[in-house]
């Protein structure tokens, strides 16, 4: 028998349930987002850990949301919070009158159940709740966390993954129902179709609805940048998450299109093997750091990347300004010579692995290998699929490992804990750095962040100097920059680096 594609067989009701719009012009158009790959793979808000963040962020809400301007957590389902006992106890006051899409009421018990379920599922980014020892629903509107060790729980609760509040009884992995409190719910979902997902307004959203807001959203999967750009020009889509620099430039001068640029929390790490091989010699590592053409790279990226300053991107606590690296070939050659390599000395052979199909990484490799060949250094660069690259990395199979890093919740701690804290079996510590002093400093970071901001900032700065300058374990060429393009009639768009590629559709209105 035939099943119906589209509006579930029932034509849309002529008048929507919320009654007539209160003044102003109703916005009956659909906001179309053009992502470059499939949107949803995992509908479970507990375990979702992938591209679906661009949809789920509009369906689910957390207790807090990171504010990209103040660099702090801002109220969302929690209206206010306090921490006590050196950051080991946190109490959140919850917003009243919030309803789940399922009709159930959001309260402290529901929140507790949601977080506990997320922790139990152990999927995705559930580890962010690791510090939590106990959750208590003190009363309907008060939620209290007791921690095992100090942690900035307000930032954890702002995470884009594993921090959603949902009705645990209504979770549906098949993508037919949603269990969040957010402004949108699923309208249709057809995996594999061009318009994979459409969302519709949740009429009982606690924030209420204004006429100019978009009540419908569609995700139209468009893998080719050129195609996306042409669709945007024709007005068939409203938002393209990323264009290349040339198209972006063209977009800036195109009338029907607006552009937005903002730095992300994702930076490129060039990790040098500190444990074995020629890069065990710190001089070689420093020489490599100096050989990278940072300015050329940034120029070639034409705004898709921005020269990094230190390990922590701008916008996060812990960012240090004035740490921008510079190419210095003379010094690099001198350092190499000290290590016994160079144009008139021994040839240096280095192996490097990077992500296959990544244009920006490829650019880095292209530039670096041609520079190094002048220094009598041969770079054997292997593009690899992530799982293969990582497998090799875990075995210490290369001299240089190129990868991106980004935090799961907006906190610089992730770079230090995961990438530079020593480990017997390296997971992401792919520079294989083993330094007790650094380890000790890293361990102190959460508590400092939760209790003494100023001290934390200082500690972050010292650590970065140690890792980048003294140890030369890593070079950080650039932070990725988002270059968005959107229809010029869309108003209210603001990028939030803590939620990569997410558009909060509720905040948008259409100019008439």
């Amino acid at each position: 028998g035939g099943q119906v594609r589209g509006a579930g067989g029932t034509p849309q009701p002529q008048t929507s349930g919320s009654g007539s719009p209160a003044g102003g012009q109703a916005n009956d158009s659909t906001f179309v987002y053009a992502p470059n790959h499939d949107v949803v793979t995992d509908w479970d808000p507990a375990t979702s850990y992938s591209n679906e963040i661009i949809a789920l962020s509009n369906i689910y809400e957390g207790l807090t949301r990171y504010d990209s301007e103040t660099h702090e957590a801002a109220p969302r389902l929690a209206t206010e919070w306090t921490s006590a006992k050196d950051g080991k106890e946190w109490t959140f006051k919850l917003r009243q009158g919030v309803k789940f899409h399922s009709g159930a009421t959001f309260d402290a018990t529901a929140a507790k159940k949601a977080i506990e379920r997320t922790i139990d599922k152990k999927g995705g980014a559930a580890y962010i709740w690791d510090p939590v020892d106990k959750i208590e629903a003190v009363d309907a509107s008060t939620l209290k966390f007791t921690l095992k060790y100090a942690a900035p729980l307000d930032l954890v609760a702002a995470s884009g993954y594993a921090a959603w509040m949902y009705d645990v009884d209504a979770v549906d992995a098949d993508g037919k129902k949603t269990a969040g409190t957010g402004p949108y719910t699923i309208d249709t979902w057809q995996k594999g179709k061009e318009t994979e997902l459409t969302l519709k307004a949740f009429e009982d959203y606690w924030g209420g609805w204004k006429p100019a807001q978009y009540k419908k959203v569609a995700f139209r999967v468009t893998p080719e940048i050129t195609t996306a750009w042409q669709l945007l020009q024709k007005g068939e889509v409203n938002f393209v998450e990323r264009l290349n620099p040339q198209l972006f430039e063209q977009a800036q001068t195109t009338e029907s299109v607006r552009t937005a640029e903002s730095p992300s929390f994702q930076n490129l790490l060039v990790l040098f093997n500190t444990a074995a091989g020629p890069t065990e010699d710190v001089k070689v590592r420093q020489a490599l750091q100096l050989a990278i053409d940072y300015d050329g790279l940034a120029a070639a990226l034409e705004g898709a990347g921005q020269k990094a300053s230190g390990l922590v991107p701008q916008g996060l606590v812990g960012h240090v300004s004035g740490m921008e690296p510079k190419q210095d070939l003379a010094k690099a050659q001198a350092l190499l010579a000290e290590a016994g390599y160079g144009p008139d000395l021994k040839e240096l052979k280095l192996s490097l692995t990077y992500g296959i199909g990544d244009e920006d990484q490829k650019l880095l490799v292209t530039l670096l290998s041609s520079t190094l060949s002048k220094l009598n250094v041969t770079l054997q660069a292997k593009p690899m699929n992530w799982s293969a690259q990582w497998d090799l990395g875990k075995k210490g199979g290369q001299d240089v490992f190129v990868m991106y890093w980004y935090p799961d919740y907006p906190d610089a701690y992730s770079w230090f804990l995961n990438v530079f804290k020593s480990a017997d079996k390296p997971q992401f510590n792919l520079s294989y750095l083993k330094n007790a002093e650094i380890d000790a400093a890293i361990d102190k970071l959460p508590e400092l962040t939760a209790t003494d901001r100023m001290a934390a900032v200082e500690e972050y700065e010292t650590l970065q100097q140690k890792i980048i300058q003294e140890q030369a374990a890593v070079a950080v060429p650039y932070v990725q920059k988002y270059q968005r393009a959107l229809s010029s009639d869309v108003q209210g768009y603001k990028d939030n680096a803590a939620y990569p590629n997410v558009v909060f559709f509720y905040d948008l209105t259409r100019a008439s």
Partner: protein, 288 residues
């Protein structure tokens, strides 16, 4: 089967080539010579060093200094096309050599031996034929790390069955020829019969097919590069160049158009020559 085609099969290539060569085919041959020369002489013809990125001179449109413009890291597109020809032609020649040698050997044995040997070889061939070429190449490229050698191996693995099929059918028909029977009656051992009689007489259509396929191999390797699984930076290769330039199609057309044209012209030249040869030798032999 008409007697006409039978005699054509058995005549030496020299005799079956038309006296007035097909003008179309001749045109293809000339084009191929030009392309090959350009590739071979690349180091002397190329105006710039092949691997010399200058980020500050990136994406310059075609001009007197850079006839075909520069690419996104500031390398001269003309230079890279000239050098890219070396890679692409090398890939084509290597793939065809490997797959023709493997395929024809197996095919001739299958066709001559018949019986279960033929059955086994042909079923294996069928499996590889049914296996989508591009997909198998892709899988192999993933297994073996992308790069020129992988491209060669990957395409060859999916290419040989065609020659096996062709050679097997030729050999099977040759094996029933009286002169093969005569050789068997004289007591000539089978390997020698294959080498002396079956192989030389099966080769003509294979030659034609080789020429037709050269274009196909270049296109496939370009498609592999296009999917990011072919040649890798900083190797100059046409498919890779198109792939890297494709997002610039609307803004910086020269980065993608010239390498695309290079592929088109080369594939065209080989196809034209192959089609000309085929028309001259056997108009009916199936194309792929």
């Amino acid at each position: 089967m008409t007697t006409e085609t039978q005699t054509q099969e058995t005549q030496p290539l020299r005799r079956t080539l038309p006296r007035v060569p097909d003008r179309f085919a001749a045109f293809g041959a000339v084009l191929i010579v030009v392309v090959v020369l350009a590739a071979v002489l690349a180091p002397w013809l190329a105006p710039y060093p092949v691997d010399d990125p200058r980020p500050l001179e990136r994406l310059l449109p075609p001009s007197g200094a850079h006839w075909f413009g520069t690419d996104q890291v500031g390398r001269d597109v003309l230079t890279r096309i000239l050098y890219g020809g070396r890679t692409s032609l090398f890939i084509a020649v290597a793939v065809l050599a490997v797959s023709a040698v493997a395929g024809v050997t197996l095919g001739v044995v299958a066709g001559y031996a018949g019986g279960w040997i033929r059955d086994v070889i042909m079923r294996v061939t069928d499996v590889f034929l049914a296996f989508p070429a591009l997909l198998l190449s892709l899988a192999l490229a993933v297994v073996l790390q992308p790069g020129v050698n992988t491209v060669i191996l990957a395409i060859a693995v999916t290419w040989w069955p065609w020659y096996t099929r062709l050679a097997a059918s030729m050999a099977a028909s040759i094996a029933t020829r009286p002169y093969v029977d005569a050789a068997r009656c004289l007591g000539v051992p089978a390997p020698l019969i294959i080498l002396r009689h079956v192989l030389p007489n099966s080769l003509t259509p294979v030659l034609v097919q080789l020429s037709l396929d050269a274009g196909g191999v270049i296109l496939t390797s370009a498609a592999l590069s296009y999917l990011g699984l072919g040649a890798q930076e900083p190797t100059a290769e046409w498919g890779l160049m198109v792939q890297q330039g494709q997002t610039l199609f609307t803004t910086n057309w020269w980065v993608v158009t010239f390498p695309g044209l290079a592929i088109l012209v080369t594939a065209f030249a080989f196809n034209v020559l192959g089609e000309g040869l085929r028309n001259a030798l056997d108009p009916r032999r199936a194309v792929k």
